[in-house]
């Protein structure tokens, strides 16, 4: 190839990183920019389910088959990100059961009927007599995104996190790159901005590809806080000036031959920077994390409104959801308890909300069934920009392949996609180091924490520690281990960065935790507060410097024959006298200075 096109991918979710990887594997020059951290948006707020497609084989066989294929592909290329939990679907009635099993068989989705004794083992309540085992799994979306990103980098891609797109560069009509602003706030990357809610009606119908996605369910992460949710911190629009906007950081213009907009819930804002209207629809569902693994399979029972709530094991806890708005938490938990009685004993650790974005024109069902490729040359007469909307963690690789096929076509490149054939690197950090355990709930040691911090340099990001090691995800939600983890930033970073990072970490965990506090969890949370406020003496609203003048200092006593005795003598036993010069509370002289005299 005489000329290598440079592709700029906007968005560091599982889809954006997969697009970057695919481009890199096909020999394109590629840069990816992400405003926050990798997997910090919808990707990180999913349920964690790797779909087999069985759940919606009757309603949407195309999507089901796509999921099945991709499920198998991901198990081959990214086995380290997947736990083979299998899934259990509990049809409500005999007729439904029969139809479900038939549909699976017809599409060759392996489905085996479960009897009461199997259901006992899984922990399903008495009175539910039939179930179907299907080849679902649980996927770690952070590990998967990181693996995509690492693979992309290995093939030459450049990945820039903490880089918000503030401008799309144009030569009048064509899109020729973007200007990004790097986050300069210490201790981490600026929180992502909020996607806009008011999207004007789009008159033109974009092409809708029939690529299917499926209910993105989710794992947790509240770091990312889901875009624009009520109750979450409202962020500023990219490039907007607001009082609370962090100090303007360094900017860079990135020239590109083609731009792929994979910004998820923020995709309309990116398009808006070029004056392009990209109408999106968003649906939301709440996830609740319960303590302990209530079951070893992902268990789904269809509820009356047609959107099944799933309880899936995830890293030692159980994620329940998505609970469609406006269902009350109690109601949803009661529904889960009716299926898994052990849920009544479990504590609610935290909750978060997932957002699924679709193109407004797609006939998308909620939770991200469809993916849409919008070529803005075709619809807006603006060459050089492709928006990829929708997609799920299960089918992201396929969606990326379709997008990159489109990009290659623009440049007459005929190389085939390799992403399904090459394994993804394992970037997870395993515990088991020799240092002390910092997060007891997750058995995460010091070395694992340090590796995760190193991986996030030069902008130290404690969110990375959480996603790479699982630290702070136990019952304490960082209350008992956060200060230890933040301390690992030192001495590479100063104590102010440590303080700010700790504050950010605890505040993020607190947002997920505070909503659901009751009983033992309330007691534990208040105990953690007391630990910080009283035992550690932390209070970010207090004065930095303490005026110690009028406080009692009689507690200090010099032991007899102390080496200090020769230097610390005089009328007042606590006032040092150095070379005959008393150094007292008024002079503020520091001892070391005095000693040097």
């Amino acid at each position: 190839m005489a000329y290598t096109p440079h592709v700029l991918v906007i968005g560091g979710g599982v889809l954006g990183t997969a697009i970057a990887r695919d481009c890199a594997l096909r020999g394109l020059e590629v840069t990816l920019v992400e405003q926050g951290t990798l997997a910090a948006g919808t990707t990180g707020s999913i349920h964690g389910l790797l779909y087999s497609g069985a759940r919606f084989v009757e309603e949407n066989p195309t999507a089901a088959m796509r999921c099945l294929t991709e499920n198998r592909t991901l198990r081959e290329i990214a086995g380290h990100c997947i736990e083979d939990t299998e899934g259990v679907v509990l049809p409500a009635e005999k007729g439904e059961f029969d139809a479900f099993v038939d549909a699976c068989e017809q599409r060759s989705i392996p489905a085996s009927a479960l009897g009461r004794s199997d259901l006992d083992e899984i922990g399903v309540a008495d009175g539910i007599d039939r179930g179907v085992r299907v080849p679902d799994g649980v996927v770690d979306p952070f590990a998967l995104t990181r693996a995509n990103a690492t693979s992309a980098e290995n093939y030459g891609a450049e990945i820039k996190t903490g880089a918000s797109v503030v401008e799309l560069l144009t030569d009048g009509t064509d899109i020729v790159g973007a200007e990004v602003e790097f986050d300069q706030s210490p201790g981490g990357v600026r929180a992502p901005t909020s996607p806009s809610e008011d999207v004007p009606e789009e008159t033109r119908e974009p092409e809708v590809d029939e690529e299917e996605e499926e209910p993105i369910d989710a794992e947790d992460d509240d770091e990312e806080d889901t875009p624009g949710m009520p109750g979450t911190v409202q962020r500023s629009f990219p490039g907007a000036t607001e009082d609370d906007t962090p100090d303007t950081g360094e900017r860079e213009e990135i020239e590109a031959d083609y731009v792929v907009n994979a910004a998820g819930a923020w995709a309309d804002q990116i398009a808006g920077l070029a004056g392009i209207k990209l109408p999106l629809s968003r649906s939301r569902g709440r996830m609740v994390v319960l303590s302990g693994e209530l079951t070893d399979s992902a268990v789904t029972r269809r509820s009356d409104d047609g959107y099944p709530i799933t309880a899936a094991p995830y890293q030692g806890n159980t994620v329940v959801g998505p609970i469609p708005e406006p269902t009350e938490l109690e109601e949803a938990l009661a529904a889960v308890e009716a299926v898994l009685p052990a849920a009544s004993e479990a504590a609610v650790l935290r909750s978060y909300t997932g957002v699924w974005t679709q193109h407004a024109s797609s006939s998308a069902s909620p939770y991200g069934h469809d993916a849409t490729l919008v070529d803005h040359e075709k619809y807006d007469d603006r060459w050089g920009l492709l928006s990829v909307i929708g997609g799920s963690v299960t089918t992201h690789r396929f969606v990326a392949e379709q997008a990159v096929n489109r990009v290659c076509r623009e440049f007459g490149i005929g190389r085939s996609c390799l992403t399904a054939d090459l394994s993804l690197p394992d970037t997870s950090i395993r515990s088991g180091d020799s240092g002390p355990v910092l997060c007891e709930a997750r058995s995460v040691g010091r070395e694992a924490v340090r590796s995760a911090i190193d991986a996030s340099e030069p902008e130290p990001e404690l969110a990375n520690v959480r996603t790479q090691t699982g630290a702070t995800m136990g019952e304490c939600q960082g209350g008992r281990c956060g200060h230890r983890i933040a301390a690992e930033l030192y001495p590479d970073h100063d104590h102010e960065t440590v303080d700010e990072s700790l504050e950010t970490l605890l505040q993020r965990r607190w947002r997920g935790r505070r909503e659901t506090l009751a009983d033992d969890q309330l007691a534990a949370a208040l105990d953690d507060y007391e630990f910080h406020a009283r035992l550690l003496g932390r209070d970010d609203e207090r004065q930095e410097e303490v005026d110690t003048d009028s406080f009692d200092e009689s507690g200090f006593t010099i032991p007899e024959r102390s080496r200090a005795d020769q230097r610390y003598r005089g009328e007042d036993s606590v006032l040092p006298v150095i070379d005959g010069v008393p150094r007292g509370t008024d002079g503020r002289a520091k001892c070391s200075e005095a000693v040097g005299q």
Partner: protein, 411 residues
Amino acid sequence: MSEDVLVVGGGIEGYSAALSALDADPGASVRLLRLPADRFATETGLLDVLGFEPGGTEPVANPLSAVDRLPESHPYSRLGLDTVRDALALFDDVAGERYVGSGTETNALFPTAVGEVAPALRYPRSVSNGVVSGPPSMRLVGFEGFPDFDAELAAERLDERTPLDVTGQMIDTPLSADSPAEMARLLDENEISDGQPARERLVDALEPVVDVEPRIGLPAALGESETAAITETIAEKLRVSVFEVSLGPPSLPGRRLESLLAETLESRGGELDSAGRITEVERTEGRIERVSTGRESYEADSYVLATGGAESGGLVGGPEDLREPVFDCPVTLPDRGLVDERFLGDHPAVRAGVPTDDRLRPVTSDESAVAENLYAAGRVLAGPNVVADHAAGGVGLATGYEAGRRASERS
């Protein structure tokens, strides 16, 4: 069995109530039920009486003279300064040589494990050399295996926060102890390994890091019962002053305070039981007649509710309401949820609690006593945010003192 006074709950307010009842009437029969909750695990061992005025940003030097600036509803305002002073005098009497600050009304400031500053009016001898208000420079020494105390980071912070010169150094964990509690045990027993007693091995490990600073701060792991002897050995051998920095939980200085209070209570004739939760309460005509854990039942002339706040299970419930589970006393809640938006915010659940009359008897909404022989003390009371104000020790001590006195008067 029947007592004059039964104290339910073993936090500082419970011990204070029991000791106060015995102080008022040395012949009284007083029993304290220590409930399962570990109330001293996050105690620093410091007696914080008033470290900050509510909302204040600077530590308070003279907590008692700040009392007249507190709201009328504050326990100190309601009890009056004399009672607070009497309660402190009782503490001084109990703590004896093991605590420092006896008689003073001026706070001292101590370094915390992260290098912040904590005010206290009374403090254990093992931490007293750490006063940050005195000028001699200090060196903090942390152990790699104890991740709660990064001495170098704490030193940098403290150096900036205070006029002191503070340096820090991390060393390999002496004695290969895997926790502060384990180190404390090895030092208490002075266990011999490779022919060398534990205390000598600790001194050898510290020797190279003692520098020009006349005092060194170590993680609070210097024994649970033999702290004085251990500290003295280090001080003598290395010729420096030694102090501990509280870690936790479990916090050893907190544990030592609990032992001190428990031993004193028993030596003064009080009874101490480790009990399960109270599950049954028998009442007649406005009196508590008997309480039971299901296995054991207790009868007393008067009762002191000292089960702690929502952090200890003294108040339970959520996410909307809290209740008091033992005697079902009404609970007042500040008006906005249980917890603040900020982790370090002013959590209503900390202020929530049982309202009382001036004699510390829990009252119903019409201001009548829940039971004529029931008193309440400490964190279970509605009141200020004693955590943020660094006043939990003093409020526990003073309300316990008053509740114990009232309870013993009745009997």
